[in-house]
Amino acid sequence: MSETTQAAQAAKAPAAKFGGKGLNVGIVVAAIVTIAGLVLWGVQLSGGFVQTGMRNLDSWGLYITMFMFLVGLSAGGLIISSVPRAFGMKGFGGISKIAVWTSICCTVLAIGFVVVDLGQPLRLWELFAYSNLGSPLMWDIIVLAVYLILSIVYLWATLRFEGGKGSEKALRVISVIALVTAVLVHSVTAWIFGLQQAHELWHTALLAPWFVSSALVCGVALVLVVIIALRRAGYMELAQENVVKMVKMLGAFVCIDLYFFACDLLTSAFPGGSGTGVVNMLVAGPLAPFFWVEVIGCAITAVIAFVPKLRTNPLIVVGSLLAIVGIFCKRVQLLVGGFQIPNIDYAGVMTPYTVTDATGSLTNAYRGMVYWPQPIEFSIVLGVFGLGALLLLLGFKYLSLRPTEKSH
């Protein structure tokens, strides 16, 4: 079946099936969750961050973990839609607009997670007034903003082009710029952590390429889950060959990501110095559950991706979800692992602000995970995700994201 006929069918038949009451209910629920999240954010700001699990020795937590994770998730959509366009290759059956829309939603969420992590969000304007251009955090804010704007421009240009306006060349140029920005966004996010000599786990040149590969893994996996779900819901049709193409890509990305992990572990452990402590912490220490879920989950994803018989829709969804969970576990390892090994661990005065669990000694606090989120953090994370679901569903309702004849 040619791409054109497929698309023509897609435009006719399923439109009636999708949407309606279910979609509206979804939008209302997402809006309620978002509002609840906003209220809790107010509670966090008025009552203080003391309600979170973050403390002086573990000064970042679930929010920054989610920030890393969402920046990664946003990658897949943009890359899947811009790579074929940029290199003039055959696409994935017209899903590019849906992919970019998921990418835009994830970027908004990533920015949201940084904002809820700020102690003084009313001073955000200072970022533009007193910008310290030497700070990796400042680089990230700039690149993320550019990335968000570019993604929106890219979606708008695609919609315009498909409506018969604008040139393909212009669209192609935008897709190339968007692609470069996507790679930059992941690198710069990695540099927030990787340029800090204070944390041995983070301070490696591999971190930036590794963030790119992790982003490709969970990003492509997310797009796969979304399009299989949308196809199921009757939003659009898509030939299985396109899904298979993406699954194979997912398999390749998962292998690259695991390969980077292996390189990093070997380089840390081989000299037998302080790096051994880092490897032990991941493999057998407090972070071991997250390590093994990631490694085993990603390995299963690779098997599903590469064994033709296993590439059935349910298993593809399972594999994609395992990859997403795996990369989330990786983010947890990175964030908590960075704080898990202190540079100065001598006994000193312990106050309720020292570590999450300040009841015992410092050694005791580091015996388990040094940081564990509190209920308010889980709730606010849920609220931010509510905002994401709201945006995503509104997009499906009001934007014409379905594949058309000209779609890539």
Partner: protein, 209 residues
């Protein structure tokens, strides 16, 4: 005038770990409950002032640790709004509470675990009223703070509060860029170390060993 590099020296051979400097710092700077800019750490057992090893082979040493006022500060580089900055004239690493957006990037970047504190809630005080010097800036909720090298005292030509009160006379203050200063003389004459030299931060706090 040549720029200064103000700093401190702690003589670990004289320090008895009495915490007077930590207490003085806390009251002079009106540090809220749970906040300690200057802490005595015990190199030894699991708890404060407990030795390590088994009797009779026990050892115990003290290390007072506060902001190291690095010559190459990691915190200054990463602050997105320049709320933490190095004073060019004196080399003191400063923190502007009014500017801090509470992102805690500096806490993460600082290699010296625990010298920076965040006010995780509205600052509370044990006796309900402010103590310490009247010129100390007001503490704020949700911003990062740390040792100021008693900036308010330096402005009056005084030494940091922790220096004067040390009963063992283990603490010294001065300009490392002035070869005739007491601190310059001490590191010329005595064996000394800086904390975590491998981090490349070049602290302006030296420890005599």
């Amino acid at each position: 005038m040549a720029t200064q590099r103000l700093g401190m020296i702690v003589d670990t051979k004289r320090c008895v770990g009495c915490s007077t400097c930590a207490m003085m710092c806390k009251s002079e700077n009106n540090e809220p409950e749970g906040i300690w800019w200057n802490r005595v750490l015990t190199i030894g057992g699991e708890h404060l002032t407990t030795p390590s090893g088994t009797y009779p082979n026990l050892t115990m040493e003290n290390l007072t640790v506060s902001c190291q006022h690095c010559n190459n500060p990691a915190c200054v580089k990463v602050c997105p709004v320049g709320a933490t900055y190095k004073d060019e004239e004196t080399g003191v690493v400063r923190q502007d509470y009014d500017k801090c957006i509470g992102c805690r990037m500096c806490m993460s970047a600082c290699p010296y675990t625990g010298v920076r504190s965040f006010n995780w809630e509205e600052p509370k005080y044990p006796i309900g009223i402010d103590t310490g010097d009247a010129d100390v800036p007001k503490h704020q909720k949700h911003v990062v703070e740390k040792c100021t090298m008693c900036w308010h005292r330096l402005a009056k030509g005084l030494q940091p509060a922790c220096i004067e009160v040390c009963p063992g006379r283990a603490r010294h203050f001065g300009d490392f860029n002035d070869p005739d200063s007491e601190v310059s003389r001490l590191i010329r004459e005595r064996e000394h170390m800086q904390l975590l030299p491998e981090m490349g931060t070049n602290p302006s706090v030296y420890y005599l060993v």
